[in-house]
């Protein structure tokens, strides 16, 4: 058999009847959809009816490694979770770093397909080829770190993936955690795992490497890529020194840092919660995921112990968006997001929307049950994070369903700053046109890392585009989305793209899997994945009007700071984007599907 960086083997776990089977991976299919995000979506499309209830037994939870996860490539250790999202009702695809993905590959599997539902809590243990389902009653109710600690005591040198109480309680914002503080955070993938009574997956592996098709070519590309990553200012200096938190000041200086649930866009107190302040006063160390030369992970201290520190998104969501200018409080809230296994973007953004409902008198003081949802309240952000994770109290349980369902319940859907019911990340799209187009067209709902237009519009990478203009944003957004789909499917970290180009990724993939990709064919593979996700959404019931932005971004101008007076002009960019994609009314035409070899997938 041809040597590739795929193991050629998938695990299928039927939780209803406890049947465990190992099956061959179709290598042609794997190469067409690369791995992880692409391959996981293809398998989900083939195996479920997209109209099913995401929290029913009919949904499947697919955990898939990338084509190069585990290979000797920089940052090659990621996995993705693909399922139907209970938050958006559309495709969910959340990825995570750490060590777990590489361990699964070393144990001999490319991915795991979970189906059905266990009658009582279970966990899966994988010790190389030995795979067993075990009772997890004793783990149910434990936090993420408690679960990991118990399993690691039993399984030496293992890596643990798990859900916390957030997933057990089926919070629609529940994450899947691994290796302490790493998270497949978005779209409520943890709730799907919880709905299946699956608490954890522990993996032990004897190997620490995998074969590739052309090891000499891989070694050469590795040297080239490592040099580029070390020499690039972002990956070589900026991210290692400050982490993603460095963005607080940058985004704020452009007047694109949403405050108080996007009522403002410039934060006079941003310096207090900035990456510079974090590095100067609170940083205890850095964290590197598997084979990562960058090390953007922050380590901070809590009660004498080192814990994972906040990302930019979390500093913004609690700091700017909830108005809490205090890093220790944000560290504490972030700690509880990780412990309870809930998304540290969607959760604080839901708290921010509740704060606006409270500010305007729609949520009463009585409903707050002793902890008023006041913008700027340190106590509120920590306490309501816990209440959401535990689905505690009437309001806590409602907020655990995310901001859209919360705001709908109070008759003010406009206070949910979300797309497709998923909360928006930390960049005001009124002053940055292209990121708004990306938000609106992201297949998994409000998200910055489907097509990170902040790179050209703010960071001048690879070149500077005028953030206030709509020209060319459609084609740039499409290319960023397609390349990102490739990187996510390869199992590498998106941050490598600050230093590497599409040619580097093509060289890596070809050396690993024996493909003959050019830059054009690689981008087309990414386009294929993006279109496949869109077909899933169409079949799941997505409508053209779901490609939209909250009215606040398209109708209300920014009221403060350097971007005052600006709005997002999605209406101009969207038709240009659909034309660039070969879509009509938000969906691919037959001609586009045939060009991408996806026509069979669009049939019901």
């Amino acid at each position: 058999m041809e040597t590739t960086s795929y193991n050629g083997k998938l695990l299928r776990i039927n939780l209803t009847n406890s049947q465990i089977t190992s099956e061959s991976l179709n290598l042609d299919l794997a190469k067409k959809f690369i791995g992880a995000r692409g391959l996981g979506t293809k398998i989900l499309m083939d195996e479920i009816n997209p109209t099913i209830d995401p929290l029913s037994d009919d949904n499947k939870l697919i955990i898939m490694t990338g084509a190069l996860t585990g290979a000797a490539v920089p940052t090659g250790g990621r996995y993705v979770v693909v399922t139907k999202s209970p938050l958006t009702g559309m495709i969910a695809c959340s990825n995570s770093g750490g060590e777990w993905g590489a361990k699964l590959k070393y144990a001999g599997f490319d991915g795991i397909i979970f189906e059905g539902k266990a009658q009582s809590p279970v966990y899966l243990s994988i010790c190389d080829e030995k795979v067993e389902l075990k009772p997890a009653e004793a783990l149910w109710g434990k936090t993420s770190s408690e679960t990991e600690e118990i399993l690691k005591a039993e399984y030496e040198k293992s890596s643990v993936l798990n859900i916390g109480p957030g997933g057990e309680n089926k919070s629609l914002m529940a994450a899947i955690m691994n290796d302490a503080d790493r998270a497949a955070g978005r779209s409520g993938v943890g709730a799907v795992m919880g709905s299946k009574n699956l608490k954890a997956i522990v993996v032990q592996a004897s190997r620490n490497n995998i074969p590739v098709t052309d090891s000499e070519a891989m070694r050469k590309e590795m040297l080239i890529a490592m040099k580029k990553i070390k020499e690039d200012g972002v990956t070589g200096t900026g991210l290692p020194t400050y982490g993603t938190a460095v963005l607080v000041n940058i985004i704020n200086e452009t007047g694109s840092f949403p405050t108080d649930n996007w009522q403002g866009s410039y934060d006079e107190n941003a310096e207090i919660i900035s990456g510079e302040t974090l590095a100067e006063k609170y940083l205890k160390g850095t964290y590197h995921c598997h084979r990562c030369p960058i090390g953007c992970g922050r380590v901070v201290e809590r009660e004498g112990k080192n814990i994972g520190g906040p990302e930019y998104e979390t500093l913004w969501a609690y700091g700017g968006n909830c108005g809490v200018h205090d890093i220790p409080t944000i560290n504490e809230a972030n700690f509880w997001c990780n412990e309870l296994g809930i998304d540290s973007i969607s959760v604080p953004c839901t708290i921010a929307s509740a704060m606006e409902l409270y500010q305007k008198g729609y949520i009463s003081e009585e409903e707050c049950d002793g902890v008023p949802l006041t913008f700027g309240s340190k106590e509120a952000v920590v306490e309501w994070t816990k209440r959401i994770g535990l689905s505690q109290g009437k309001l806590g349980a409602l907020m655990a369903k995310g901001s859209q369902r919360l705001c709908d319940a109070y008759g003010h859907p406009e206070f949910s700053m979300s797309v497709k019911k998923q909360e928006l990340p930390a960049y005001d799209a009124r002053g940055i046109q292209g990121i708004g187009l990306n938000y609106a067209t992201s297949n998994r709902g409000g998200c910055h890392v489907r097509g990170y237009m902040i790179s050209p519009e703010i960071l001048a990478h690879p070149e500077l585009l005028d953030r206030t203009k709509t020209e060319d944003k459609a084609t740039w957004t499409k290319i960023f989305q397609d390349l990102t789909a490739v990187i996510d499917s390869m199992g590498m970290c998106l941050f490598t793209s600050f230093a590497l180009g599409a040619d580097d990724y093509a060289n890596f993939l070809n050396a690993g899997t024996g493909t003959t990709h050019t830059v054009d064919s690689l981008l087309e593979a990414g386009e294929r994945i993006y279109n496949l996700e869109r077909i899933f959404n169409k079949k799941a019931g997505m409508k053209a009007e779901d490609d939209s932005l909250p009215k606040r971004l398209t109708e209300d101008s920014i009221v403060d700071g350097p971007s005052q007076g600006q709005k997002n002009h999605l209406n101009i960019m969207l038709p240009e984007y659909y034309a660039a994609r070969g879509w009509v009314n938000a969906f691919p035409t037959e001609e586009t599907l045939i060009r991408l070899g996806l026509e069979e997938n669009d049939r019901s």
């Binding site: 460095v246 510079e276 790179s455 001048a460």
Partner: protein, 73 residues
Amino acid sequence: MIEVRLFATLREGRGKIVKLDFKTNFNGIQLLEDLKIPQEQVSIFLINGHHQSFEKLLSDEDIVSIFPPVGGG
């Protein structure tokens, strides 16, 4: 008066904020020279929150924000 805000590694030895007296015909190139910041160390150069070239002439009361290559997501 021109307010120059420095960020990340550019603060080392210079501080967070530097205030310069306004001069006519003064642009980013001269400003960087005054602050002893090599142009190649500057990745993002904002005047009043908007990206500008170093050649653009500065006006009194302008706020200039300068960042080295940094990024994230």
